[in-house]
Symmetry: C3
Amino acid sequence: MEWLLYFDLFGVFVFALSGGFDGAKYHLDLLGILVLALATSLGGGIMRDAILGVHPPAAFTNETYFFTALAAGLIAFFFANRVERHMDYVRFADAIGLGVFAAIGAATAVRHELGWVGVVLMSTLTATGGGVIRDLLVREIPMILRSDFYASAAIIGGLMYMVLHSEGVPEAYCMGLAALAATASRFVAMRYNVNLPQARR
Amino acid sequence: MEWLLYFDLFGVFVFALSGGFDGAKYHLDLLGILVLALATSLGGGIMRDAILGVHPPAAFTNETYFFTALAAGLIAFFFANRVERHMDYVRFADAIGLGVFAAIGAATAVRHELGWVGVVLMSTLTATGGGVIRDLLVREIPMILRSDFYASAAIIGGLMYMVLHSEGVPEAYCMGLAALAATASRFVAMRYNVNLPQARR
Amino acid sequence: MEWLLYFDLFGVFVFALSGGFDGAKYHLDLLGILVLALATSLGGGIMRDAILGVHPPAAFTNETYFFTALAAGLIAFFFANRVERHMDYVRFADAIGLGVFAAIGAATAVRHELGWVGVVLMSTLTATGGGVIRDLLVREIPMILRSDFYASAAIIGGLMYMVLHSEGVPEAYCMGLAALAATASRFVAMRYNVNLPQARR
């Protein structure tokens, strides 16, 4: 399953970039940026593994995760002075990470024999958990709570995975298409500024 | 143990209401309100299960939890414009949820053969964990830290459970009376504005 | 391994003091201070155990942890009016706790057969996790993100442990020297105001 590892590492890389650039925005020092890059990119997966009983979590046993996140954090540090100009790339990368992690969360949940609800919850937690940690650490209102069609995109990814899986589609295609569905939803929402209804006051 | 499930679902329902109404207060959109309802009502139990080694947690395997929380979140969304008028009901519901979750936390800890301290800690964590997540997400100082006789009520519930359990009282009565003790303590504190001493400055 | 327990309890005590004093700074009531003392001193270890699959965590089964943290919380409450005068002792205690917990995190990770990266991550998480919880609860930007050579000291402790361990040095010496290295690094950084480079703007 080598392609799955690369898929996951790609998600780690782009989320670490988004965490690192966020740290640069708040004038953190080198280590603060690296800590934020690591927490953003590995946090969701560590929570997922702790909840599903995968001990120790993948991020602690396969060192490639750590070094991938570290590399992305260093890139964020050195290019931080140009971050404003590149903010669109960051949001672009973040949307791809969201899709990749939603798909991996769904696949892990299916392997642990969870049902529809469990898969969607795990998909959402894996895709948004790291970002929630990042936002809590820098004291922003978490992206998933703001009007941004963010968690919805992860939910769409999880549902897509389950639809395909229950049709007998092989795992690799389930993952690819689920990631695509989540990322595409997020792109469309960003492009057309789609928002969900707010409660009447 | 069907009554236990209903007891638990009742706690989930009232906590999801309190999370959802809190989201409405901050003008979150539909999904933000649902996310907050789910996190508030399922978060404490998921942490409890991850700590005690129940993999996957009940909230991921029994889908009734999810749909109960979702229903409460939708109710909060549709009645949000009247939330100010109903704030007393919310606080009332929250106090009942606190008692129910304190009792369930204690019972789970006893089944895992923890002692007095473990039971009280687990009771407090289960009863207050979801609320802490809710308060962190919307960036309020967590209820358990403010002068509100909140965690104390959960502790009273946990202690009550252990006193009854060590007297050989059957589990169902332990739970009912522990929930009653915690909720009643919280009601009394709210009614008479009981606060604990503050540190001298 | 009685000395290891005392070593751990010492770390719990000093971290609970730092959490309690922090609570006093924010005018929390007695229970708020105790909750903060418990969360700061036990939170890192509980996360470590949940991630590594130690169920239930040590803090829930050995009641000495709880009472140690409670005692430190009470001390913080009663001496809170003199906290400003004693802030240096608090920072001193915190640096010692940081070293002790970094060493214990490293030793636990080695016993679970993690490699270099896993040991350093676990070391950092154990040493800084409680403080992150404390800072999130009182809504400060976490110490590990600010320019403070804080996580770096924990990383140095974890690396020192691994260097000694891979040279065949007995566990007790690994722990003592790792704790010393981390605490000394933190002292030097506080004394000479060592900071890491910040990203260029």
